[in-house]
């Protein structure tokens, strides 16, 4: 990214052959790699100094890979050093602790060290200068804790990978379904130019790292431990050898200096000859790789009860008068570190977090140091390569020669440039570790890694959008279904009402019919009675005319007539009653 180059590198040709070093241990060699100028000695002349306590500390809630933490404090609240101020949300997350005692003055959006230059939620603490610790106690005997309990302590201490990626350590220390692990690799390679914080940590605090190794091994139940250190750090190698001499199955290994030997998969290849599968984790081949700084942080959390609130930061670059390593509280503004190392803000052409190969340029100087800040690199105009025009790709293949993961950067470049996101994945874009070797050797000055980062981001965005579209589709379909259901329900209600109404009129009609029938029969009965009456009268008249009948005979005749006409009338009245029932 920011290094002047001297033509092709000598790393050159890929080879499977192993490189032997002083010891008898067999080492392998990963493919590709480059030898950029080191610039490391400038920041190793001074011992590690503690940085001055800043007046204000800005603590981003998202300093790790995964979900951001959730604040637990309110504005105006007093906090003590080491107090939990934000708890993790979800499984892949890490808590944040107060690096010093003071008052929470704000919780809100502040600029954070990120390539975007955007702001993110932060907790701002104004230090009271007393630096008063909260009550904390070490774990008395970690050997008595189960690995799972140990991981919980590490999770609560907010420890994440301090090598630069910031992956929550407690997840890494979980061997999953495996009962035990074969190899634990402690990564002290530090292959990026300029950065020396791991080197200085190993030189000065090898004991802490050795103590951390014991704890991490206990959590993982690892059979053996390898401490890998590049052969350009002999002092660190000696110190680590001395510190780990009393430990069983711990070997300190010097690995040949070659960028990017400090990358997890490449280091595993160098030490064990095994390759991590493209879609797998190191754990799948029985290896866990962790940074030396992380091991020291684990030691502090377990043996002293101190959460992760500070780290070593290399402050270096041409614009720094007294480059060196500082022990910095998280949240300290970088410009204060630059001042403390006699930096000249005016001379800084580009401020980089991380190294020149994989770091990114910062947009301002007052950004806070976070858990993944291993280096603050202040480069002057003289150190930056002169801007060279980007030329067309000439298909020289230099990028493919140096790629440590066996990719074809030029193919990836063509497809990324053409935004052909499917093809670029066919060429295994997501195996790219963004080490920058290809951009470093490109004779046409093509910013290859930037294309790959762009393509990765575009693919992620596309996937996010696809997910969102799927949700929208489901919601829309559900809505249509709901509307259809509501309509059907309305229709059904209306139909029921209609049917009820119809049934009602039918019943009324039937009632009317019955009434009519009753009326008819009654009318008939009346007519019949009338007829019988007139007949009787006629008979009486004729009888009176013929002879005067005796009163007894008249009575009997009347009764008989009555009986005759009464019977059918009773039957007609019965019939409609039966019908009605």
């Amino acid at each position: 990214m920011a290094l002047p180059r001297g033509g092709r590198t000598e790393a050159g040709r890929a080879g499977e052959g192993f490189v032997s070093n002083a010891g008898a241990r067999r080492l392998w060699r990963f493919r590709g790699g480059v030898h950029p100028p080191q610039h490391k000695q400038v920041s190793t002349t001074l011992p590690v100094r503690p940085a001055a306590l800043p007046a204000r500390l800005t603590l981003p809630l998202h300093q790790h890979i995964g979900e951001p933490a959730e604040p637990l404090v309110k504005r105006g609240q007093q906090v003590l050093k080491g107090q939990l101020i934000a708890r993790p949300q979800g499984y892949v997350s890490a808590p944040v602790h107060a690096p010093t005692s003071g008052t929470v003055v704000d919780i809100g959006e502040y600029p954070v060290p990120h390539p975007s230059g955007l702001s993110a939620p932060c907790i701002v603490i104004e230090a009271d200068g007393e630096d008063r610790w909260i009550d904390h106690a070490p774990v008395a005997d970690y050997q008595s804790l189960s690995p799972s309990e140990l991981r919980n302590v590490i999770r609560e201490a907010g420890i994440v990978g301090l090598g630069g990626a910031g992956f929550p350590t407690y997840i890494k220390l979980n061997p999953g379904h495996r009962k035990a692990l074969d190899t634990l690799i402690l990564n002290g390679v530090e292959c990026e130019p300029y950065i020396t914080c791991d080197d200085m940590l190993m030189r000065e605090r090898a004991g802490e790292i050795a103590a951390g190794i014991g704890i991490v091994r206990h959590a993982l139940q690892a059979r053996q431990c390898l401490v890998a250190i590049e052969d350009n750090k002999p002092e660190a190698y000696d110190a680590m050898c001395r510190a780990t001499a009393h430990l069983e199955d711990v070997t300190v290994v010097q690995v040949p200096t070659l960028y990017p030997a400090g990358s997890e998969k490449q280091l595993i290849k160098v030490l064990t000859g095994k390759e991590v599968p493209s879609d797998g984790l190191a754990l799948h081949i029985g290896v866990v790789c962790t940074n030396v700084g992380t091991a020291a942080a684990v030691h502090r959390a377990i043996d002293r009860g101190e959460p992760l609130i500070s780290r070593l930061v290399t402050v270096t670059g041409g614009a720094i008068g007294r480059p060196g390593n500082l022990e910095v509280l998280l949240g300290t503004p970088m410009e204060e570190l630059i001042h403390q190392c006699a930096g000249d803000s005016g001379a800084i052409e580009r401020l980089v977090m991380g190294g020149p190969m994989m770091g990114f340029a910062l947009h301002r100087f007052d950004l806070p140091v976070i858990k993944t800040t291993n280096c603050v690199l202040a480069l002057t105009a003289a150190e930056l390569p002169p801007p060279r025009p980007v030329m067309p790709c000439i298909r020289c293949g230099a990028c493919a020669d140096v790629c440590p993961v066996n990719l074809l950067p030029q193919q990836l470049y063509w497809y990324s440039k053409a935004k052909d996101l499917d093809r670029v994945q066919e060429y295994h874009l997501f195996d790219c570790i963004e080490c920058g070797c290809c951009s470093y050797v490109c004779p046409s000055n093509i910013p290859l890694v930037q294309y790959f980062r762009y393509a990765k981001g575009d693919i992620w965005t596309r996937e996010r959008e696809k997910e969102k579209a799927d949700i929208a589709r489901r919601r829309h379909e559900f809505r249509l279904e709901r509307l259809a259901r509501e309509k059907a329900e309305r229709e059904a209600r209306r139909n029921r009402k209609k049917a009820a109404l119809q049934a009602d009129t039918a019943r009324r009609e039937k009632q009317a019919e019955i009434q009519e029938a009753i009326a008819r029969t009654q009318a008939r009965r009346r007519a019949a009675m009338k007829a019988a009456e007139t007949q009787r009268r006629k008979a009486q008249q004729t009888a009176r005319g013929r002879e005067r009948p005796s009163p007894a005979a008249r009575n009997a005749g009347g009764e008989g007539g009555n009986e005759k006409s009464g019977a059918p009338a009773g039957m007609t009245e019965d019939a409609p009653q039966g019908k009605d029932e």
């Binding site: 975007s116 993110a120 762009y454």
Partner: protein, 189 residues
């Protein structure tokens, strides 16, 4: 001669039966092409394509009634994806359907909202929450930015605001190459 005719007739009958059986046994329910097209559309359900939703537009494309360049929210990406799927030439977005805009979400000004529920009825993805005479609000994560809630609002209390970018959604930009174009290409163009 006769043998050949009989043999061919037999073969024709056998294959005819096999095809007929396959047509029944392996019958495809629905139109898979419509599903494939629908999967490429952005599902904003905005109706800018002149169809009442993404699925009807997908059906229209499958039938050949609609062209592939009528989806403004999908933009160039969708047009290219559709062109790939249907083996057609990509073409620029039809300006009659609208222009490509940055992603937006609807925001209800809660001071002005009178709780009329008209926007709730208009929202194609049920992303507005509220009840009659109660304040409404938009569920930001579910809003597709279709703008269908704007016209029914009697008090104009809904605004479209561009979706803010945060660190989690930020992506590296396309590298800018300040490279002088090679002479060959210039001549060609």
């Amino acid at each position: 001669m006769m043998a050949a005719i009989i043999a061919l007739t037999l073969l024709a009958v056998v294959f005819g039966l096999m095809l007929g059986f396959a047509a029944i046994r392996f019958k495809v329910e629905g139109d898979p092409l419509v599903d494939k097209i629908d999967a490429l559309l952005p599902q904003t359900q905005c109706g800018q394509c002149s169809y009442p939703g993404c699925r009807p537009y997908a059906e229209a494309i499958a039938k050949g009634e609609a062209d592939i360049n009528q989806c403004p929210p999908g933009g160039e990406t969708t047009i290219i994806a559709l062109a790939d799927l249907l083996d057609r030439d990509p073409k620029p977005l039809n300006p009659e359907n609208g222009t490509v805009k940055p992603k937006m979400v609807a925001v209800i000004d809660e001071q002005r909202c009178i709780g009329c529920t008209l926007c709730i009825q208009a929202c194609p993805v049920d992303a507005i929450l509220g009840a009659a005479k109660h304040m409404h609000t938009v569920i930001e994560s579910e809003c597709t930015g279709c703008e269908l809630c704007l016209p029914p609002c009697p008090v104009d209390c809904i605004d479209m605001v561009p979706l803010g970018q945060d660190i989690l959604t930020w992506k590296w930009p396309y590298p800018e190459e300040a490279a002088p174009k090679p002479a060959v290409l210039e001549k060609a163009s």
